[in-house]
Amino acid sequence: MSLLELKDVSLGYDSQIVVENLNFKVNKGDYLCIVGENGSGKTTLMKTLLKLTPPLAGVIIRDDDLKKGEIGYLPQQTLVQKDFPASVKEIVLSGCQGGKKFKPFYTKEDKKNAEKNMKRMDILDLQNECYKDLSGGQKQRVLLARALCATKSILLLDEPVSGLDPMVTMGMYELIAKLNKEGLTVIMISHDISASVKYASHILHISKKIFFGTKEEYIQSDIGKFFLMSEGGKENA
């Protein structure tokens, strides 16, 4: 059974339609990359998947786990966070608060879970450091560990490598690929089409024409060929 299915969905805000007739399906263990130009509606799609903005039309069918809010989200960093006095541990723990149940304090399980995910992201030795003193890559790992605390099944990433240098970017991609191999479903917004093709299992390309399919199909498609060529051209230049 699919984890997430969109049928004839239209997206937008204030009744202004950004994307129309969106159809795609995400199965357990998939690695879906959403690519497309700025303003094509990638972030709106992400917000709709997170239930932050309702779809303008169509249906979104969610798996039971997703309905409970079992969703790990890695947002783009905000201005507020730049000088936020918080330790790594506090931030990772804050991922454990999802769900509808009222629980004012963290349980032992929450703390174990946070520790496990900090280990997974290789930031356990940073746990008492202040978030604002970390490097860009470390910050992303912290936020990723927090997202992992919130979910066991699906990760949504909003341009996880923006602003990172090439080496750190590679590391980040490898890390996400590793999580995907461990069984997590990954949905990622990306600007980087060549990296998307390298790591993803499925591609959703949003522009005037919408493409959805496996990455093999994408490489063969006209739209895929066009964009991969132009990107390849850039790299050679």
């Binding site: 989200y73 947002p75 905000t78 330790s87 931030i91 804050s94 991922g95 608060q97 509808k100 202040c130």
Partner: protein, 277 residues
């Protein structure tokens, strides 16, 4: 020095002033951290002017306990400011500025037109800069203040983790199913309560100082949210205590003395930060 303090402690009015002052300082510093980080430093200022307007209306109506009118008005405005921040027809800071000066002007106008007192400018000055009112507190006022403070502190402790999550990353919290609107509302109501309480202590112009100075001071030194929260509470309480004592001994105005102590603490913290580096 200690003898002098003990001597003054013998007076009931000094004890009342200290209890109320310390509690207000505690509450305002707790929420101060969140407000500063959410870029809401000025909400204190805006709401306090609303409270000033409320007091003006209450004086015109000749109410015996002004708090029963001022508190609901201020809470209402806090909620409106917050809702406005989301729909964003008038952006957050502009909305705060608008309500702030609007209420201030309206309050003064009302006081002027319907003045019942012979010393109008004295009255206005008192509400703006705090007064000796804190030294003439009645037992009922002290009890009300204690009860409200306990409620504020309890709310803060119970919702501490949620407040942290919502402050640090509202989008993430919302996506994982936390009702962020509800917690923003809670923060707004709590800050409104604190501001109305603090009017007595430092007056409506200086409340922002109580809210932001302790948080800004300790944020220069401490690294985790918990440390910052606890340290700002401690610092705020200590500053309020010394401020009140100094003002009684040197007979200076209470509010501005407390703020002066807060400013001093901020400078000391800045120096500590520089030295550490």
């Amino acid at each position: 020095m200690l003898e002098l303090i003990m001597f003054y402690m013998g007076y009931e009015f000094v004890r009342y002033a200290l209890i109320v002052g310390v509690l207000i300082a505690l509450c305002s510093s707790l929420l101060g951290v969140t407000l500063v980080l959410k870029r809401f430093s000025f909400i204190g200022d805006g709401l306090s002017h609303v409270a000033f307007g409320g007091i003006a209306i209450a004086s015109v109506l000749n109410l015996t306990n002004k708090m029963y009118l001022v508190l609901p008005i201020t809470i209402l405005c806090a909620v409106i400011l917050l809702k406005n921040g989301q729909s964003a027809k008038i952006k957050g800071d502009a909305a705060i500025a608008m309500i702030s000066v609007g209420a201030l002007a309206l309050g003064y106008l009302l006081m002027n037109i319907f003045s019942t007192s012979s010393n109008l400018s004295g009255d206005v000055c008192t509400t703006l800069f705090g007064s000796t009112a804190i030294l003439t507190l009645t037992k009922d006022e002290v009890i009300l203040c204690v009860v409200l403070s306990i409620i504020v502190v309890l709310c803060f402790i119970i919702f501490y983790n949620k407040i942290f999550a919502v402050t640090f990353d509202e989008t993430f919290s919302k996506a994982t199913g936390i009702k962020t609107d509800r917690y923003n509302l809670l923060i707004a109501v709590l800050i409104a309560v604190i501001i109305v309480l603090a009017m007595n202590l430092v007056g409506s112009l200086l409340i922002s100082a109580l809210v932001i100075f302790p948080a800004l001071s300790v944020m220069r030194i401490f690294k985790s949210f918990k440390q910052v929260t606890i340290a700002s509470a401690v610092l705020s309480v200590v500053c309020a205590f010394f401020g009140i004592m100094i003002s009684i001994i040197a007979s200076t105005p209470v509010g501005s003395t407390i703020v002066a102590v807060d400013v001093t603490a901020f400078i000391i913290c800045s120096i500590i930060e520089k030295v550490k580096r």
